[in-house]
């Protein structure tokens, strides 16, 4: 009986340690996965923006969120397969969804800026633009 109790305690202990390990790794792993999804989304959107610029000779003039930009580029025919929202892993679209991407251009729409903020914060996570930060590498 004592041996069975002891085995049970040890098993529970190991499970607890496993849970702690998962807890330690879980958050940074989720962040890393999200980061990769954001990078993929950014590259798709950036390529579409470049194609838009080639055709229109300016970048879109309006300040836009990720959802607005993706819908705009899709409507204009520059995004055949729109990227998924990396924060929700669903299609960009519904109002109030988590969306950390912000697009803006300069006064004469000659440059672009794609900035990713941690959703709900002002913490800048990624920046891809046509002047200084032109790659994610």
């Amino acid at each position: 009986m004592n041996k069975a109790v002891s085995m049970l305690i040890r098993f529970a202990g190991l499970l607890l340690l496993l849970a702690v390990a998962c807890l330690l790794i879980g958050r940074p792993l989720a962040e890393k996965r999200e980061e990769r999804r954001i990078r993929t989304m950014l590259l798709t959107v950036q390529e579409a923006l470049q194609n838009y610029h080639v055709k229109e000779e300016i970048y879109p003039r309006d300040l836009m969120t990720g959802a607005q930009l993706v819908h705009f580029l899709k409507k204009e025919g520059f995004l055949e397969k729109p990227p998924l929202n990396p924060w929700t892993q669903a299609e960009f679209g519904s109002a109030g969804e988590r969306d950390g991407l912000r697009y803006r251009t300069d006064m004469i729409a000659e440059t672009y800026e794609l900035v990713v903020f941690k959703p709900g914060t002002e913490i800048e996570q990624f920046r891809l633009d046509s002047t200084e930060n032109q790659s994610l590498e």
Binding site: S6, I9, R10, G13, L14, L16, L17, L18, V20, A21, L24, I25, P28, L29, E31, K32, R33, R36, R37, R39, L43, Q46, E47, Q50, N51, H53, V54, L128, S130, Q134, S135, L136, E137
Partner: protein
């Protein structure tokens, strides 16, 4: 006779086990290193065989070259090296064309003569990139030129390489990216590193020698001075120099390279911490040098004996798995390149008070508090670095494949799984 034979076989078994233990650690270290070399060379968009095959049809496999050129050896089906491939990113990330940099693949044959380039991925305007890709005269103007000849180009017109009309800036960026990437590699190749000993290297060797003397010279009249050495390890080695052996230090070395020329004393110090117990059974670092261990020893002496509590058998058994769990975390973090400061899982960085984070300070303080009631609790049940040093330590008496050795198999298995299963499986 039988007794003699059994002694010999026990001795052989002991040696085999010792070699096995060191091999497990070296194999894990090699896997981490090789994995990080692969990431360094291949980046986020690994070069594939099919990309190289388009330029070198006999390509069958790509082998990461961790040397200064940082490229890929191209191997044919018979295992012979038939060429070399490099990608220009991330070295060329500052070389911008019309609206962004491009990642260019450059492939050489076995004689190091160019066989072609290909634009793999680009942040530049897609239509301009397409124009460059379609301009065969430009794309093939690198063929037949040697690595060094390309790296030395300073005037493209003089070298007979002309930009593409209609995509001038994009093609110029491609040209510059290629020459820049090859020249950077040549520059790295020429770098000479000289070993430099500084005062702290000598101090570390002094602590190592001191620990060794106290571990091996058991004369009572000498041992009574050990307390001075112990205080010196806490004050000088720990609080002043901050040179404690930690996972963050070792993983950093294994992932990139061992800085033997910049901090030779520290390298010898760490190597000796593993090799001394492996050869001699004496846990010289853990028992004599480690400042945190010595601090716990002092606390054990200071607190009343009545404070001490025995830890139940099951508690001890579970506690012995804590360092293994932490090593699982360390291996996973290293392979998956997670944003997690390994200094936070051990108390050692807390000794560098100015830069210590909350996590490491908490581990140090909680560990010390627990050791008031359960003597040396952190060393016995919390220290992943100590676990590794104990793992390789030569055992007294009859040695056998035990619980720790199975844990070693598990850690190596985890490293193999993370090494062979592509990162995209884990990271999406």
């Amino acid at each position: 006779m039988a007794k003699g034979e059994s002694k010999v076989s026990s001795c052989i078994k002991s040696y085999v086990l010792q070699i096995y233990r060191l091999s497990v650690l070296l194999a894990i270290a090699w896997l981490i290193r090789s994995h990080h070399d692969r990431i360094r060379v291949q980046g986020d968009w690994p070069v594939t065989v099919s990309e190289v095959k388009a330029l070198l049809p006999e390509a069958h496999r790509l082998k990461v070259d961790a040397g200064p050129r940082g490229g890929l050896e191209v191997v044919n089906a018979d295992g012979e090296k038939i060429g070399y491939a490099v990608r220009t990113m991330p070295d060329s990330r500052e070389i911008v064309g019309y609206s962004g940099p491009s990642d260019v693949l450059v492939v050489f044959d076995a004689e190091e003569k160019g066989v072609g380039i290909a634009i793999r991925q680009s942040y530049d305007t897609p239509s301009h990139v397409d124009d460059v890709k379609r301009e065969f005269l430009f794309m093939e103007s690198w063929n037949g030129r040697s690595w060094d000849a390309i790296a030395e180009i300073s005037d493209f017109n003089e070298a007979g390489i002309y930009s593409v009309t209609g995509a001038t800036r994009t093609s110029e960026a491609v040209m510059e990216s290629v020459t820049h990437r090859l020249a950077v590699a040549d520059g790295e190749e020429g770098l000479e590193r000289a070993v430099e000993f500084h005062w702290n290297d000598f101090a570390l060797l002094g602590f190592l020698a001191g620990g060794g003397v106290f571990a091996f010279w058991k004369k009572k009249t000498f041992q009574r001075w050990r307390w001075i050495f112990s205080v010196a390890t806490i004050g000088l080695l720990g609080l002043w120099m901050g040179d404690l052996i930690a996972q963050s230090l070792m993983v950093g070395w294994v992932e990139s390279r061992i800085p033997w020329e910049a901090t030779p004393g520290l390298v010898i110090f760490v190597a000796a911490a593993f090799l001394l117990p492996w050869f001699t059974k004496q846990p010289v670092y853990c028992q004599f040098i480690c400042p945190h261990g010595n601090l716990q020893r002092w606390m054990m002496k200071v607190v009343p004996a009545t404070w001490k509590r025995p830890l139940p058998g099951d508690g001890k058994w579970i506690g012995r798995w804590i360092p293994v769990m932490l090593l699982v975390v360390v291996i996973a973090i290293s392979f998956l390149q997670l944003d997690f400061d390994l200094a936070g899982i051990e108390p050692f960085d807390a000794y560098v008070i100015k830069s210590a984070g909350i996590a490491t300070i908490s581990v140090a303080l909680v560990g010390l508090a627990i050791s008031l009631f359960f003597p040396m609790a952190y060393c016995k049940y919390g220290c992943p670095t100590g676990w590794l040093l104990e793992f390789v330590r030569k055992r007294s008496g009859k040695d056998k494949f035990g619980e720790r050795d199975w844990a070693g198999v598990g850690l190596l298995g985890l490293a193999l799984v993370l090494y062979f299963i592509p990162l995209s499986t884990w990271l999406g």
